[in-house]
Protein backbone atom coordinates (compact mmCIF):
# COMPACT_ATOMS: atom_id res chain seq x y z
CA UNK A 1 0.00 0.00 0.00
CA UNK A 2 1.21 3.47 -0.83
CA UNK A 3 2.22 5.76 2.01
CA UNK A 4 -0.03 8.54 0.74
CA UNK A 5 -3.05 8.13 -1.45
CA UNK A 6 -5.12 11.10 -2.51
CA UNK A 7 -8.41 10.16 -4.12
CA UNK A 8 -10.61 12.63 -5.97
CA UNK A 9 -9.76 15.43 -3.55
CA UNK A 10 -11.88 18.55 -3.89
CA UNK A 11 -11.15 21.71 -1.95
CA UNK A 12 -13.45 24.62 -2.63
CA UNK A 13 -13.44 28.18 -1.31
CA UNK A 14 -16.83 29.64 -0.45
CA UNK A 15 -16.50 33.34 -1.20
CA UNK A 16 -18.91 36.18 -1.84
CA UNK A 17 -18.12 35.97 -5.54
CA UNK A 18 -19.06 32.32 -5.60
CA UNK A 19 -17.54 28.91 -5.02
CA UNK A 20 -13.93 28.82 -6.14
CA UNK A 21 -13.08 25.28 -7.14
CA UNK A 22 -9.40 25.61 -6.28
CA UNK A 23 -8.70 21.90 -6.20
CA UNK A 24 -11.21 19.93 -8.21
CA UNK A 25 -10.87 16.20 -8.10
CA UNK A 26 -7.22 15.31 -7.97
CA UNK A 27 -5.79 11.86 -7.31
CA UNK A 28 -2.27 10.61 -6.88
CA UNK A 29 -0.32 8.23 -4.71
CA UNK A 30 3.15 8.33 -3.27
CA UNK A 31 5.28 5.41 -2.16
CA UNK A 32 7.56 5.44 0.82
CA UNK A 33 10.90 7.14 0.12
CA UNK A 34 9.79 8.56 -3.24
CA UNK A 35 9.54 12.15 -4.45
CA UNK A 36 6.57 13.60 -6.28
CA UNK A 37 6.80 17.00 -7.94
CA UNK A 38 3.63 19.03 -8.35
CA UNK A 39 4.15 21.71 -10.97
CA UNK A 40 1.95 24.52 -12.16
CA UNK A 41 1.61 28.24 -12.54
CA UNK A 42 0.18 30.61 -9.96
CA UNK A 43 -3.40 29.84 -8.99
CA UNK A 44 -3.44 26.28 -10.32
CA UNK A 45 -4.16 24.85 -6.87
CA UNK A 46 -0.82 23.25 -6.06
CA UNK A 47 -0.41 24.95 -2.69
CA UNK A 48 -4.04 24.36 -1.75
CA UNK A 49 -3.43 20.67 -2.43
CA UNK A 50 -0.54 20.68 0.03
CA UNK A 51 -2.50 22.59 2.66
CA UNK A 52 -5.44 20.21 2.24
CA UNK A 53 -3.22 17.21 2.95
CA UNK A 54 -1.82 18.98 6.01
CA UNK A 55 -5.29 20.02 7.19
CA UNK A 56 -4.14 23.62 7.16
CA UNK A 57 -6.62 25.18 4.75
CA UNK A 58 -8.36 28.23 6.22
CA UNK A 59 -11.85 27.11 7.26
CA UNK A 60 -13.93 29.06 6.39
CA UNK A 61 -13.81 30.03 3.53
CA UNK A 62 -12.18 26.83 2.37
CA UNK A 63 -13.65 23.37 2.77
CA UNK A 64 -12.76 19.92 1.59
CA UNK A 65 -15.99 19.00 -0.17
CA UNK A 66 -15.04 15.60 -1.46
CA UNK A 67 -12.46 12.88 -1.72
CA UNK A 68 -10.04 11.41 0.74
CA UNK A 69 -6.43 11.73 1.82
CA UNK A 70 -5.25 8.30 2.93
CA UNK A 71 -2.03 8.41 4.90
CA UNK A 72 -1.00 4.92 5.87
CA UNK A 73 -4.57 3.88 5.23
CA UNK A 74 -6.06 6.50 7.56
CA UNK A 75 -8.25 9.23 6.01
CA UNK A 76 -6.77 12.53 7.21
CA UNK A 77 -9.80 14.55 6.08
CA UNK A 78 -11.92 12.74 8.68
CA UNK A 79 -9.63 13.48 11.62
CA UNK A 80 -10.46 16.12 14.21
CA UNK A 81 -8.07 18.98 14.92
CA UNK A 82 -6.67 17.19 18.00
CA UNK A 83 -5.82 14.01 16.13
CA UNK A 84 -4.53 16.00 13.20
CA UNK A 85 -2.03 17.69 15.49
CA UNK A 86 -0.45 14.36 16.29
CA UNK A 87 -0.11 13.62 12.58
CA UNK A 88 1.27 17.02 11.69
CA UNK A 89 4.93 17.28 12.58
CA UNK A 90 5.16 13.67 13.69
CA UNK A 91 4.14 11.96 10.50
CA UNK A 92 3.82 14.70 7.93
CA UNK A 93 5.82 17.94 8.04
CA UNK A 94 5.86 20.94 5.78
CA UNK A 95 8.29 23.69 4.79
CA UNK A 96 7.19 26.86 3.11
CA UNK A 97 8.43 29.19 0.43
CA UNK A 98 9.41 32.15 2.48
CA UNK A 99 11.96 31.42 5.19
CA UNK A 100 11.81 35.13 6.11
CA UNK A 101 8.26 34.93 7.40
CA UNK A 102 7.84 31.36 8.55
CA UNK A 103 10.06 31.76 11.60
CA UNK A 104 8.94 33.82 14.58
CA UNK A 105 11.25 36.87 14.68
CA UNK A 106 10.84 37.34 18.44
CA UNK A 107 11.98 33.87 19.49
CA UNK A 108 15.45 32.37 19.49
CA UNK A 109 16.06 29.64 16.91
CA UNK A 110 16.68 27.15 19.71
CA UNK A 111 13.33 27.89 21.33
CA UNK A 112 11.52 27.37 18.07
CA UNK A 113 13.14 23.99 17.45
CA UNK A 114 12.82 22.63 21.00
CA UNK A 115 9.21 23.81 21.11
CA UNK A 116 8.37 21.55 18.20
CA UNK A 117 10.27 18.61 19.65
CA UNK A 118 8.64 18.96 23.06
CA UNK A 119 5.16 19.31 21.60
CA UNK A 120 5.47 15.92 19.97
CA UNK A 121 7.66 13.96 22.40
CA UNK A 122 8.17 13.55 26.11
CA UNK A 123 11.77 14.77 25.89
CA UNK A 124 13.22 16.87 28.71
CA UNK A 125 14.39 20.41 28.04
CA UNK A 126 18.06 19.43 28.07
CA UNK A 127 17.55 16.47 25.77
CA UNK A 128 15.48 18.56 23.39
CA UNK A 129 18.26 21.13 23.30
CA UNK A 130 20.81 18.44 22.52
CA UNK A 131 18.59 17.11 19.78
CA UNK A 132 18.23 20.66 18.39
CA UNK A 133 22.01 21.01 18.17
CA UNK A 134 22.23 17.69 16.34
CA UNK A 135 19.52 18.77 13.93
CA UNK A 136 21.22 22.06 13.11
CA UNK A 137 24.42 20.18 12.48
CA UNK A 138 22.60 17.77 10.24
CA UNK A 139 21.21 20.56 8.07
CA UNK A 140 24.65 22.10 7.79
CA UNK A 141 24.63 25.07 10.12
CA UNK A 142 28.16 25.65 11.43
CA UNK A 143 28.78 26.30 15.16
CA UNK A 144 25.28 24.96 15.82
CA UNK A 145 25.50 25.06 19.63
CA UNK A 146 26.15 28.82 19.58
CA UNK A 147 23.71 29.59 16.75
CA UNK A 148 20.91 28.05 18.82
CA UNK A 149 20.69 31.25 20.88
CA UNK A 150 20.49 33.58 17.88
CA UNK A 151 17.35 35.22 16.61
CA UNK A 152 16.16 34.55 13.04
CA UNK A 153 17.31 37.96 11.71
CA UNK A 154 20.91 36.90 12.22
CA UNK A 155 20.53 34.14 9.65
CA UNK A 156 20.63 34.57 5.86
CA UNK A 157 17.76 33.33 3.69
CA UNK A 158 19.44 30.04 2.92
CA UNK A 159 20.35 29.47 6.56
CA UNK A 160 16.77 30.23 7.64
CA UNK A 161 15.49 27.66 5.19
CA UNK A 162 17.96 25.21 6.75
CA UNK A 163 16.49 26.01 10.17
CA UNK A 164 12.99 25.41 8.81
CA UNK A 165 14.13 22.06 7.46
CA UNK A 166 15.62 21.21 10.86
CA UNK A 167 12.29 21.99 12.52
CA UNK A 168 10.40 19.94 9.95
CA UNK A 169 12.73 16.99 10.49
CA UNK A 170 12.75 17.23 14.26
CA UNK A 171 10.21 14.46 14.73
CA UNK A 172 11.38 12.28 11.85
CA UNK A 173 8.29 12.61 9.65
CA UNK A 174 7.63 10.00 7.00
CA UNK A 175 6.38 12.56 4.52
CA UNK A 176 7.80 16.03 3.92
CA UNK A 177 5.82 18.55 1.89
CA UNK A 178 8.03 21.32 0.53
CA UNK A 179 6.06 24.22 -0.96
CA UNK A 180 8.37 26.22 -3.25
CA UNK A 181 11.24 25.74 -0.79
CA UNK A 182 13.85 27.49 -2.92
CA UNK A 183 11.85 30.11 -4.79
CA UNK A 184 13.01 32.97 -2.56
CA UNK A 185 16.66 31.91 -2.73
CA UNK A 186 19.54 32.62 -5.10
CA UNK A 187 20.47 29.78 -7.47
CA UNK A 188 23.69 28.80 -5.74
CA UNK A 189 21.83 28.58 -2.42
CA UNK A 190 18.95 26.79 -4.12
CA UNK A 191 21.36 24.11 -5.31
CA UNK A 192 22.64 23.66 -1.76
CA UNK A 193 19.14 23.34 -0.30
CA UNK A 194 18.03 20.87 -2.98
CA UNK A 195 21.14 18.77 -2.34
CA UNK A 196 20.45 18.88 1.38
CA UNK A 197 16.81 17.85 0.98
CA UNK A 198 17.82 14.96 -1.23
CA UNK A 199 20.46 13.76 1.22
CA UNK A 200 18.10 13.93 4.17
CA UNK A 201 15.32 12.23 2.27
CA UNK A 202 17.57 9.28 1.52
CA UNK A 203 18.99 9.06 5.02
CA UNK A 204 15.59 9.14 6.67
CA UNK A 205 13.82 7.13 3.98
CA UNK A 206 11.28 9.91 3.81
CA UNK A 207 8.75 10.54 1.04
CA UNK A 208 8.58 14.05 -0.33
CA UNK A 209 6.11 16.19 -2.22
CA UNK A 210 7.86 19.10 -3.87
CA UNK A 211 5.64 21.91 -5.04
CA UNK A 212 7.21 24.25 -7.53
CA UNK A 213 6.74 26.33 -10.66
CA UNK A 214 10.29 25.55 -11.79
CA UNK A 215 10.63 22.70 -14.29
CA UNK A 216 14.37 22.61 -13.69
CA UNK A 217 13.95 21.97 -9.97
CA UNK A 218 11.52 19.14 -10.71
CA UNK A 219 13.89 17.60 -13.23
CA UNK A 220 16.60 17.58 -10.61
CA UNK A 221 14.69 16.20 -7.67
CA UNK A 222 11.60 14.20 -8.55
CA UNK A 223 10.85 10.57 -9.33
CA UNK A 224 7.32 11.39 -10.46
CA UNK A 225 5.77 14.60 -11.73
CA UNK A 226 2.20 15.85 -11.76
CA UNK A 227 1.33 18.92 -13.84
CA UNK A 228 -1.59 20.92 -12.48
CA UNK A 229 -3.77 23.32 -14.39
CA UNK A 230 -6.88 25.11 -13.15
CA UNK A 231 -7.39 22.87 -10.12
CA UNK A 232 -6.83 19.57 -11.89
CA UNK A 233 -3.95 17.26 -12.64
CA UNK A 234 -3.62 17.32 -16.42
CA UNK A 235 -0.61 15.05 -16.78
CA UNK A 236 1.30 12.68 -14.57
CA UNK A 237 4.25 10.41 -15.27
CA UNK A 238 7.73 9.56 -14.12
CA UNK A 239 10.19 12.44 -14.44
CA UNK A 240 12.13 10.86 -17.29
CA UNK A 241 9.01 9.98 -19.23
CA UNK A 242 7.35 13.37 -18.76
CA UNK A 243 10.29 15.46 -19.88
CA UNK A 244 11.11 13.18 -22.77
CA UNK A 245 7.61 12.57 -24.09
CA UNK A 246 5.21 15.21 -22.79
CA UNK A 247 1.69 14.44 -23.96
CA UNK A 248 -0.48 17.33 -22.82
CA UNK A 249 -0.46 20.49 -24.96
CA UNK A 250 -0.11 22.52 -21.75
CA UNK A 251 2.98 20.62 -20.59
CA UNK A 252 4.42 20.97 -24.07
CA UNK A 253 3.77 24.70 -24.06
CA UNK A 254 5.24 25.11 -20.57
CA UNK A 255 8.44 23.41 -21.65
CA UNK A 256 8.51 25.48 -24.84
CA UNK A 257 8.07 28.68 -22.85
CA UNK A 258 11.26 28.06 -20.89
CA UNK A 259 14.34 29.92 -22.05
CA UNK A 260 17.16 27.45 -22.69
CA UNK A 261 20.34 27.58 -20.67
CA UNK A 262 22.19 25.06 -22.79
CA UNK A 263 22.31 24.51 -26.53
CA UNK A 264 23.35 26.12 -29.75
CA UNK A 265 23.95 29.84 -29.48
CA UNK A 266 22.34 30.93 -32.73
CA UNK A 267 19.30 28.75 -32.19
CA UNK A 268 18.73 30.18 -28.75
CA UNK A 269 19.05 33.79 -29.82
CA UNK A 270 16.86 33.48 -32.88
CA UNK A 271 14.14 31.21 -31.68
CA UNK A 272 10.97 32.54 -30.17
CA UNK A 273 9.68 31.19 -26.91
CA UNK A 274 6.28 29.51 -26.96
CA UNK A 275 3.96 31.89 -25.24
CA UNK A 276 0.59 30.53 -24.13
CA UNK A 277 -2.09 32.97 -25.25
CA UNK A 278 -4.86 33.99 -22.86
CA UNK A 279 -5.07 33.06 -19.22
CA UNK A 280 -6.40 30.22 -17.06
CA UNK A 281 -10.18 29.99 -16.63
CA UNK A 282 -12.07 31.53 -13.76
CA UNK A 283 -12.40 28.81 -11.13
CA UNK A 284 -15.72 30.14 -9.88
CA UNK A 285 -17.27 29.10 -13.15
CA UNK A 286 -14.91 26.69 -14.84
CA UNK A 287 -15.94 25.62 -18.33
CA UNK A 288 -17.59 22.23 -18.67
CA UNK A 289 -15.24 21.57 -21.54
CA UNK A 290 -11.54 20.83 -21.19
CA UNK A 291 -10.19 23.60 -18.98
CA UNK A 292 -7.29 24.20 -21.32
CA UNK A 293 -9.38 24.19 -24.52
CA UNK A 294 -9.58 27.99 -24.83
CA UNK A 295 -5.78 28.26 -24.90
CA UNK A 296 -5.04 24.97 -26.63
CA UNK A 297 -3.53 25.27 -30.10
CA UNK A 298 -4.97 21.91 -31.12
CA UNK A 299 -8.59 22.25 -29.99
CA UNK A 300 -11.00 23.35 -32.70
CA UNK A 301 -14.73 23.95 -32.61
CA UNK A 302 -15.67 20.56 -34.03
CA UNK A 303 -13.84 18.84 -31.20
CA UNK A 304 -15.72 17.17 -28.41
CA UNK A 305 -13.17 18.56 -25.95
CA UNK A 306 -14.63 22.05 -26.34
CA UNK A 307 -17.91 20.71 -24.94
CA UNK A 308 -17.12 17.74 -22.73
CA UNK A 309 -14.25 17.51 -20.31
CA UNK A 310 -11.76 14.79 -21.24
CA UNK A 311 -11.06 12.25 -18.52
CA UNK A 312 -7.65 11.41 -17.15
CA UNK A 313 -6.47 8.31 -19.02
CA UNK A 314 -3.40 6.13 -19.04
CA UNK A 315 -1.78 6.68 -22.41
CA UNK A 316 1.26 4.54 -21.62
CA UNK A 317 2.03 2.50 -18.56
CA UNK A 318 2.24 4.97 -15.68
CA UNK A 319 1.69 7.98 -17.93
CA UNK A 320 -1.64 9.70 -17.32
CA UNK A 321 -2.99 12.59 -19.32
CA UNK A 322 -6.21 14.60 -19.48
CA UNK A 323 -6.58 15.87 -23.03
CA UNK A 324 -8.24 14.98 -26.33
CA UNK A 325 -5.05 15.90 -28.18
CA UNK A 326 -2.06 14.10 -26.71
CA UNK A 327 1.17 14.46 -28.68
CA UNK A 328 1.39 10.80 -29.63
CA UNK A 329 -2.10 10.77 -31.13
CA UNK A 330 -1.75 13.92 -33.13
CA UNK A 331 -1.41 13.34 -36.86
CA UNK A 332 0.23 15.57 -39.39
CA UNK A 333 2.07 18.78 -38.85
CA UNK A 334 2.16 20.57 -35.54
CA UNK A 335 0.16 23.73 -35.71
CA UNK A 336 2.11 26.77 -34.61
CA UNK A 337 1.24 28.34 -31.30
CA UNK A 338 0.44 32.01 -31.72
CA UNK A 339 1.79 34.37 -29.12
Amino acid sequence: MALLEVNDLKTHFFTREGVVQAVDGISFSLEKGKTLGIVGESGCGKSVTALSIMGLIPKPPAKIVGGEVLFDGRDLTKLGEREMQTVRGNQVAMIFQDPMTSLNPTLRIGTQITETIRTHTEMSKQDARKRAIELLEEVGIPRSAERLDDYPHRFSGGMRQRVMIAIALSCSPRLLIADEPTTALDVTIQAQILDLLDELRQEHDMAMILITHDMGVVAEVCDDVAIMYAGQIVEQASGFELFEKPEHPYTEALLGALPQLEGDEREIRQSRLTAIPGRPPDLVNPPEACRFAARCPYASYEDSCTEVEPQLREIRAGHWVRTAHPTSERSGEREPVNA
Binding site: A191, G216, A219, F243, L254
Partner: protein, 297 residues
Protein backbone atom coordinates in the same frame (compact mmCIF):
# COMPACT_ATOMS: atom_id res chain seq x y z
CA UNK B 1 20.56 47.22 -36.18
CA UNK B 2 22.49 50.37 -37.02
CA UNK B 3 26.04 50.86 -35.88
CA UNK B 4 25.90 54.60 -35.45
CA UNK B 5 28.57 55.67 -33.03
CA UNK B 6 28.30 58.33 -30.42
CA UNK B 7 31.06 57.99 -27.88
CA UNK B 8 34.82 58.13 -28.39
CA UNK B 9 35.18 54.36 -28.59
CA UNK B 10 32.04 53.83 -30.62
CA UNK B 11 29.77 52.60 -27.84
CA UNK B 12 26.35 54.05 -27.08
CA UNK B 13 26.99 53.63 -23.38
CA UNK B 14 30.37 53.47 -21.77
CA UNK B 15 30.75 52.84 -18.06
CA UNK B 16 34.21 53.23 -16.55
CA UNK B 17 35.24 52.38 -13.00
CA UNK B 18 31.74 52.94 -11.71
CA UNK B 19 31.61 52.97 -7.95
CA UNK B 20 28.70 53.24 -5.54
CA UNK B 21 29.66 53.03 -1.91
CA UNK B 22 27.09 53.42 0.85
CA UNK B 23 28.61 54.75 4.05
CA UNK B 24 28.08 52.79 7.25
CA UNK B 25 27.49 55.29 10.05
CA UNK B 26 27.70 54.75 13.76
CA UNK B 27 26.97 56.90 16.78
CA UNK B 28 23.75 58.51 17.91
CA UNK B 29 24.56 62.20 18.30
CA UNK B 30 27.93 62.44 16.65
CA UNK B 31 27.71 60.29 13.57
CA UNK B 32 30.89 59.06 12.08
CA UNK B 33 31.50 56.90 9.08
CA UNK B 34 33.01 53.62 10.10
CA UNK B 35 33.09 51.88 6.75
CA UNK B 36 31.33 51.44 3.46
CA UNK B 37 29.19 48.91 1.70
CA UNK B 38 30.75 48.65 -1.73
CA UNK B 39 27.57 47.94 -3.67
CA UNK B 40 29.27 48.67 -6.98
CA UNK B 41 33.02 48.61 -6.96
CA UNK B 42 34.98 49.51 -10.08
CA UNK B 43 32.63 48.29 -12.80
CA UNK B 44 33.48 49.02 -16.45
CA UNK B 45 31.72 47.97 -19.66
CA UNK B 46 30.51 49.29 -23.00
CA UNK B 47 27.19 48.75 -24.69
CA UNK B 48 27.02 49.22 -28.47
CA UNK B 49 23.96 50.64 -30.16
CA UNK B 50 21.32 48.00 -30.94
CA UNK B 51 22.95 45.45 -28.68
CA UNK B 52 21.70 43.74 -25.53
CA UNK B 53 24.10 43.45 -22.66
CA UNK B 54 22.88 41.00 -20.03
CA UNK B 55 23.89 41.81 -16.48
CA UNK B 56 23.57 38.76 -14.23
CA UNK B 57 24.29 38.17 -10.59
CA UNK B 58 22.67 37.02 -7.38
CA UNK B 59 20.89 39.24 -4.89
CA UNK B 60 23.18 41.90 -3.52
CA UNK B 61 25.66 41.63 -6.37
CA UNK B 62 25.08 45.27 -7.32
CA UNK B 63 23.44 44.70 -10.68
CA UNK B 64 20.38 46.88 -10.05
CA UNK B 65 22.45 49.58 -8.38
CA UNK B 66 24.59 49.68 -11.52
CA UNK B 67 21.44 50.16 -13.59
CA UNK B 68 20.16 52.95 -11.34
CA UNK B 69 23.50 54.77 -11.47
CA UNK B 70 23.56 54.63 -15.26
CA UNK B 71 20.11 56.24 -15.39
CA UNK B 72 21.28 58.70 -12.72
CA UNK B 73 18.40 57.65 -10.50
CA UNK B 74 21.13 57.16 -7.94
CA UNK B 75 24.29 59.25 -7.71
CA UNK B 76 27.48 57.23 -8.11
CA UNK B 77 30.37 57.85 -5.73
CA UNK B 78 32.99 57.46 -8.42
CA UNK B 79 33.66 56.66 -12.05
CA UNK B 80 32.30 57.85 -15.31
CA UNK B 81 29.23 57.13 -17.41
CA UNK B 82 29.28 58.21 -21.04
CA UNK B 83 26.01 58.01 -22.91
CA UNK B 84 25.63 59.20 -26.51
CA UNK B 85 28.96 60.94 -26.19
CA UNK B 86 27.99 62.90 -23.07
CA UNK B 87 29.35 62.45 -19.57
CA UNK B 88 26.23 61.92 -17.48
CA UNK B 89 27.87 62.24 -14.08
CA UNK B 90 28.60 65.95 -14.50
CA UNK B 91 25.47 67.02 -16.34
CA UNK B 92 23.28 69.75 -14.88
CA UNK B 93 19.65 69.12 -14.00
CA UNK B 94 18.14 70.52 -17.16
CA UNK B 95 20.56 68.73 -19.44
CA UNK B 96 20.07 65.48 -17.57
CA UNK B 97 16.31 65.87 -17.97
CA UNK B 98 16.77 66.12 -21.71
CA UNK B 99 19.05 63.10 -21.76
CA UNK B 100 16.41 61.07 -19.93
CA UNK B 101 14.31 61.07 -23.08
CA UNK B 102 16.88 58.73 -24.50
CA UNK B 103 17.10 56.32 -21.58
CA UNK B 104 14.20 54.61 -19.87
CA UNK B 105 13.60 51.77 -17.48
CA UNK B 106 11.24 48.81 -17.13
CA UNK B 107 10.93 47.70 -13.52
CA UNK B 108 10.61 44.25 -12.02
CA UNK B 109 7.33 44.44 -10.27
CA UNK B 110 4.41 45.45 -12.48
CA UNK B 111 2.26 45.51 -9.34
CA UNK B 112 4.32 48.20 -7.61
CA UNK B 113 5.67 50.26 -10.49
CA UNK B 114 2.36 51.56 -11.82
CA UNK B 115 0.50 54.28 -9.91
CA UNK B 116 -2.79 52.64 -8.88
CA UNK B 117 -4.62 55.98 -9.00
CA UNK B 118 -3.75 56.71 -12.59
CA UNK B 119 -5.50 55.27 -15.61
CA UNK B 120 -3.55 53.16 -18.06
CA UNK B 121 -3.71 56.02 -20.57
CA UNK B 122 -2.45 58.48 -17.97
CA UNK B 123 0.48 56.27 -17.06
CA UNK B 124 1.66 55.88 -20.63
CA UNK B 125 1.05 59.57 -21.46
CA UNK B 126 2.92 60.86 -18.41
CA UNK B 127 6.44 60.83 -19.91
CA UNK B 128 5.08 62.72 -22.93
CA UNK B 129 3.49 65.35 -20.69
CA UNK B 130 6.59 65.72 -18.54
CA UNK B 131 8.69 66.37 -21.59
CA UNK B 132 6.04 68.55 -23.23
CA UNK B 133 5.67 66.47 -26.33
CA UNK B 134 2.66 66.97 -28.59
CA UNK B 135 -0.79 68.30 -27.85
CA UNK B 136 -3.30 66.59 -25.62
CA UNK B 137 -4.99 65.16 -28.69
CA UNK B 138 -1.85 63.91 -30.37
CA UNK B 139 -0.76 62.37 -27.07
CA UNK B 140 -3.98 60.36 -26.89
CA UNK B 141 -3.23 59.09 -30.37
CA UNK B 142 0.36 58.25 -29.39
CA UNK B 143 -0.78 56.37 -26.30
CA UNK B 144 -3.18 54.24 -28.33
CA UNK B 145 -0.46 53.50 -30.84
CA UNK B 146 2.03 52.55 -28.08
CA UNK B 147 -0.44 50.25 -26.36
CA UNK B 148 -1.22 48.62 -29.67
CA UNK B 149 2.51 48.02 -30.27
CA UNK B 150 2.95 46.24 -26.96
CA UNK B 151 -0.13 44.10 -27.48
CA UNK B 152 -2.41 45.81 -24.98
CA UNK B 153 -5.96 46.58 -26.04
CA UNK B 154 -5.96 50.37 -26.73
CA UNK B 155 -9.65 50.60 -25.82
CA UNK B 156 -8.76 50.06 -22.18
CA UNK B 157 -6.96 53.41 -21.72
CA UNK B 158 -9.51 54.56 -19.16
CA UNK B 159 -9.14 51.55 -16.92
CA UNK B 160 -6.88 51.22 -13.89
CA UNK B 161 -3.82 48.94 -13.47
CA UNK B 162 -5.43 46.72 -10.81
CA UNK B 163 -7.91 45.47 -13.38
CA UNK B 164 -5.13 43.69 -15.25
CA UNK B 165 -2.94 40.63 -14.77
CA UNK B 166 0.81 40.79 -14.21
CA UNK B 167 1.65 40.22 -17.86
CA UNK B 168 -0.74 42.92 -19.04
CA UNK B 169 0.65 45.35 -16.48
CA UNK B 170 4.18 44.69 -17.62
CA UNK B 171 3.01 45.57 -21.13
CA UNK B 172 1.82 48.92 -19.78
CA UNK B 173 5.26 49.40 -18.19
CA UNK B 174 6.95 48.65 -21.51
CA UNK B 175 4.63 51.07 -23.37
CA UNK B 176 5.54 53.79 -20.87
CA UNK B 177 9.25 53.13 -21.38
CA UNK B 178 8.78 53.34 -25.16
CA UNK B 179 6.76 56.56 -25.08
CA UNK B 180 9.71 58.91 -25.54
CA UNK B 181 11.28 56.76 -28.24
CA UNK B 182 14.46 56.20 -26.22
CA UNK B 183 17.72 54.71 -27.44
CA UNK B 184 18.48 52.73 -24.29
CA UNK B 185 16.11 50.79 -22.05
CA UNK B 186 17.34 49.37 -18.77
CA UNK B 187 15.25 46.27 -18.07
CA UNK B 188 15.54 45.53 -14.36
CA UNK B 189 14.31 41.95 -13.83
CA UNK B 190 11.35 42.61 -16.14
CA UNK B 191 9.95 39.07 -15.99
CA UNK B 192 10.89 37.81 -12.53
CA UNK B 193 7.44 38.36 -11.11
CA UNK B 194 5.66 36.54 -13.93
CA UNK B 195 4.64 32.93 -14.61
CA UNK B 196 6.71 31.21 -17.31
CA UNK B 197 4.05 31.30 -20.03
CA UNK B 198 3.56 35.04 -19.47
CA UNK B 199 7.29 35.54 -19.11
CA UNK B 200 7.69 34.10 -22.62
CA UNK B 201 5.18 36.64 -23.99
CA UNK B 202 7.07 39.58 -22.52
CA UNK B 203 10.50 38.30 -23.60
CA UNK B 204 9.21 37.79 -27.15
CA UNK B 205 7.75 41.30 -27.06
CA UNK B 206 11.04 42.83 -25.92
CA UNK B 207 12.87 41.01 -28.71
CA UNK B 208 10.37 42.22 -31.32
CA UNK B 209 10.61 45.81 -30.11
CA UNK B 210 14.37 45.71 -30.29
CA UNK B 211 14.22 44.48 -33.86
CA UNK B 212 11.59 47.03 -34.90
CA UNK B 213 12.98 50.09 -33.17
CA UNK B 214 16.70 49.34 -32.96
CA UNK B 215 16.60 49.58 -29.17
CA UNK B 216 19.61 49.00 -26.97
CA UNK B 217 19.00 47.00 -23.79
CA UNK B 218 20.82 46.67 -20.54
CA UNK B 219 19.06 43.53 -19.38
CA UNK B 220 19.42 42.91 -15.65
CA UNK B 221 18.35 39.53 -14.30
CA UNK B 222 19.24 36.80 -11.86
CA UNK B 223 17.89 34.16 -14.25
CA UNK B 224 20.73 32.87 -16.42
CA UNK B 225 18.50 31.14 -18.94
CA UNK B 226 16.45 34.31 -19.45
CA UNK B 227 19.60 36.39 -19.87
CA UNK B 228 20.93 33.94 -22.39
CA UNK B 229 17.90 34.16 -24.71
CA UNK B 230 18.03 37.93 -24.57
CA UNK B 231 21.70 38.91 -24.67
CA UNK B 232 24.43 39.39 -27.26
CA UNK B 233 26.98 39.85 -24.53
CA UNK B 234 26.86 38.99 -20.86
CA UNK B 235 28.47 40.53 -17.81
CA UNK B 236 28.55 38.62 -14.53
CA UNK B 237 28.59 40.53 -11.25
CA UNK B 238 29.49 39.25 -7.81
CA UNK B 239 29.73 41.34 -4.65
CA UNK B 240 29.89 44.66 -6.48
CA UNK B 241 32.52 43.59 -8.95
CA UNK B 242 32.28 42.58 -12.55
CA UNK B 243 33.92 39.16 -12.57
CA UNK B 244 33.49 38.26 -16.21
CA UNK B 245 32.28 39.83 -19.44
CA UNK B 246 32.16 38.44 -22.95
CA UNK B 247 29.92 37.29 -25.76
CA UNK B 248 27.10 35.06 -24.60
CA UNK B 249 28.84 32.14 -26.27
CA UNK B 250 32.12 32.69 -24.41
CA UNK B 251 30.58 33.22 -21.02
CA UNK B 252 28.24 30.23 -21.27
CA UNK B 253 30.56 27.74 -22.92
CA UNK B 254 33.96 28.68 -21.57
CA UNK B 255 33.48 30.58 -18.36
CA UNK B 256 36.83 31.65 -16.98
CA UNK B 257 35.91 32.92 -13.57
CA UNK B 258 35.32 30.42 -10.77
CA UNK B 259 32.20 32.21 -9.56
CA UNK B 260 30.70 32.19 -13.06
CA UNK B 261 31.32 28.45 -13.29
CA UNK B 262 29.64 27.79 -9.95
CA UNK B 263 26.72 30.03 -10.88
CA UNK B 264 26.04 28.20 -14.13
CA UNK B 265 26.45 24.79 -12.55
CA UNK B 266 23.83 25.70 -9.93
CA UNK B 267 20.99 26.29 -12.41
CA UNK B 268 18.75 23.24 -12.79
CA UNK B 269 17.80 22.52 -16.41
CA UNK B 270 14.45 20.91 -17.34
CA UNK B 271 15.91 17.56 -18.42
CA UNK B 272 16.32 14.86 -15.76
CA UNK B 273 19.06 13.00 -17.65
CA UNK B 274 21.12 16.11 -18.28
CA UNK B 275 20.46 17.38 -14.78
CA UNK B 276 22.09 14.27 -13.31
CA UNK B 277 25.29 15.10 -15.12
CA UNK B 278 25.08 18.72 -14.08
CA UNK B 279 24.57 17.71 -10.48
CA UNK B 280 27.75 15.64 -10.59
CA UNK B 281 29.58 18.57 -12.18
CA UNK B 282 28.30 20.82 -9.41
CA UNK B 283 29.59 18.43 -6.74
CA UNK B 284 32.98 18.34 -8.48
CA UNK B 285 33.23 22.14 -8.59
CA UNK B 286 32.32 22.38 -4.93
CA UNK B 287 34.95 19.82 -4.08
CA UNK B 288 37.52 21.78 -6.06
CA UNK B 289 36.58 25.03 -4.38
CA UNK B 290 36.97 23.38 -1.00
CA UNK B 291 40.36 21.86 -1.70
CA UNK B 292 41.41 25.10 -3.39
CA UNK B 293 40.94 26.78 -0.04
CA UNK B 294 38.09 29.16 -0.85
CA UNK B 295 34.90 27.64 0.41
CA UNK B 296 32.67 30.57 -0.46
CA UNK B 297 30.28 28.63 -2.65
Amino acid sequence: MSSETSSSNGALLSVTDLEKHFPIRKGLLVERTVGAVKAVDGVSFDVAEGETLGLVGESGSGKSTTGYCILQLMKQTGGSIQFMGKELTTLGREELRRMRREMQIVFQDPYASLDPRMTVGGIVAEPLEVHGIGTRKSRTETVRRLLDIVGFNPNFTNRYPHEFSGGQRQRIGVARALALNPKLIVCDEPVSALDVSIQAQILNLLKDLQRDFGLTYLFISHDLAVVRTMSDRIAVMNQGKLVEIGTAEQVYHEPKDEYTKALFAAVPVPDPQRQRERKAERARLRQEARSGGNGSI
